[in-house]
């Protein structure tokens, strides 16, 4: 009985530990250009963060192998959604698809834009949208390892702005437009 009680209490502690570990999902997008810099940053986070984290990285065509975290090059639509839903923090390249998906799922997001100077993208357009969304208070962003570390350390205490969908504006616009076109055709 004493042995059973001890095992049960050990299992409870383990369960508690899993619950307090922060789950971080990292995505580099589906571009044909690698983003080794972000993968290397995330790989190094485990050593420098005082709290426990569980990371999963979608690595795309990047060839840097992260030895300390789980990774896969591409995820199916379902796998990606699942990782997105499960995570506590999303670290993403500056692609709008991933950022917006994270915002819609009300995730805490740190965006790391792909930069042309490191041959991570053809230009710096990711920097433009990431800067704007950060200035508007929807996400945090980082361009260096130090900035990424700082962002993770403060993300739980910062109040981020909630994203409100604006798609209805387009629904109304196209609904009116098509009605006009149909009337013109008659």
């Amino acid at each position: 009985m004493a042995k059973f009680k001890k095992e049960l209490s050990e299992r409870n502690i383990f369960r508690e530990y899993i619950l307090i570990m922060k789950r971080i999902f990292v995505t580099v997008g589906s571009q044909k250009m690698p983003f080794n810099r972000l993968i290397e940053y995330v790989n190094n986070l485990k050593d420098d963060l005082s709290e426990s984290i569980v990371c999963f990285i979608q690595t795309g065509v990047s060839n840097y192998i992260p030895k300390k975290v789980e990774y896969k090059d591409y995820l199916t639509f379902e796998e990606f959604n699942s990782k997105m839903l499960e995570c506590d923090i999303l670290i993403t390249h500056g692609g709008t698809g991933a950022i917006v998906k994270g915002l819609k799922e009300k995730k805490r997001i740190i965006a790391v834009p792909r930069l042309q100077c490191y041959s991570e993208h053809v230009d710096n357009h990711q920097l433009e949208i990431v800067t704007e969304l950060t200035n508007l208070g929807y996400i945090l962003s980082a361009n260096t390892y130090k900035e990424l570390l700082e962002a993770i350390q403060k993300i739980d205490t910062i109040e981020l702005r909630e994203f409100q969908s604006n798609t209805k504006t387009y629904e109304d616009f196209f609904s009116n437009y098509l009605r006009e076109q149909l009337n013109v055709q008659k």
């Binding site: 053809v122 969908s165 387009y170």
Partner: protein
């Protein structure tokens, strides 16, 4: 009334899918880029990237294929969320006096895309998602985020 929806892959396609959903029930078809992963486009055109070797060759192929699709489908309205893949279809559409609607990307907050600048003069409706782009597109219609 038939509507052609055309966009390259990635964020451009994500934004096109939103338009596709809005127009569910209308007679539409989608043209996108050839990619390694599946998408729901009826037609795929080879990827266009201004940095690729033999760009002119790929662009010429795009023109030929775009024309074939256009003659087969005969759209009344052509809507694109970018990028370069839409240029031949828009030009062909203009030639045949079709309605052209271009939606500048959500990612472009302050600076226009090269495709946007090229197609702005011939578009019947040009939609921008950020107010600063009014400087580049004075007749652009600001609707805000498509998301």
């Amino acid at each position: 009334m038939k509507i052609c929806l055309i966009a390259s892959s990635g964020g451009h396609y994500e934004q096109l899918k939103i338009i596709g959903k809005i127009l569910e029930g209308s007679n539409t078809y989608i043209i996108s880029e050839e990619t390694d992963y599946k998408n729901h486009a009826q037609y795929s055109l080879p990827q266009l990237n201004r940095k690729q070797k033999c760009f002119i060759f790929h662009f010429a192929k795009n023109i030929y294929k775009s024309f074939k699709i256009f003659l087969k489908e005969k759209p009344d309205i052509i809507i694109s969320t970018g990028s370069m893949i839409a240029i031949p279809t828009f030009l062909i559409g203009k030639l045949y006096s079709k309605k052209l609607i271009f939606i500048e990307s959500f990612a472009k907050v302050n600076t226009p895309t090269k495709t946007g600048k090229l197609l702005y003069p011939i578009s019947d409706i040009f939609i921008i998602q950020w107010p600063n782009l009014k400087k580049s597109y004075p007749n652009g219609i600001y609707l805000g985020s498509i998301y």
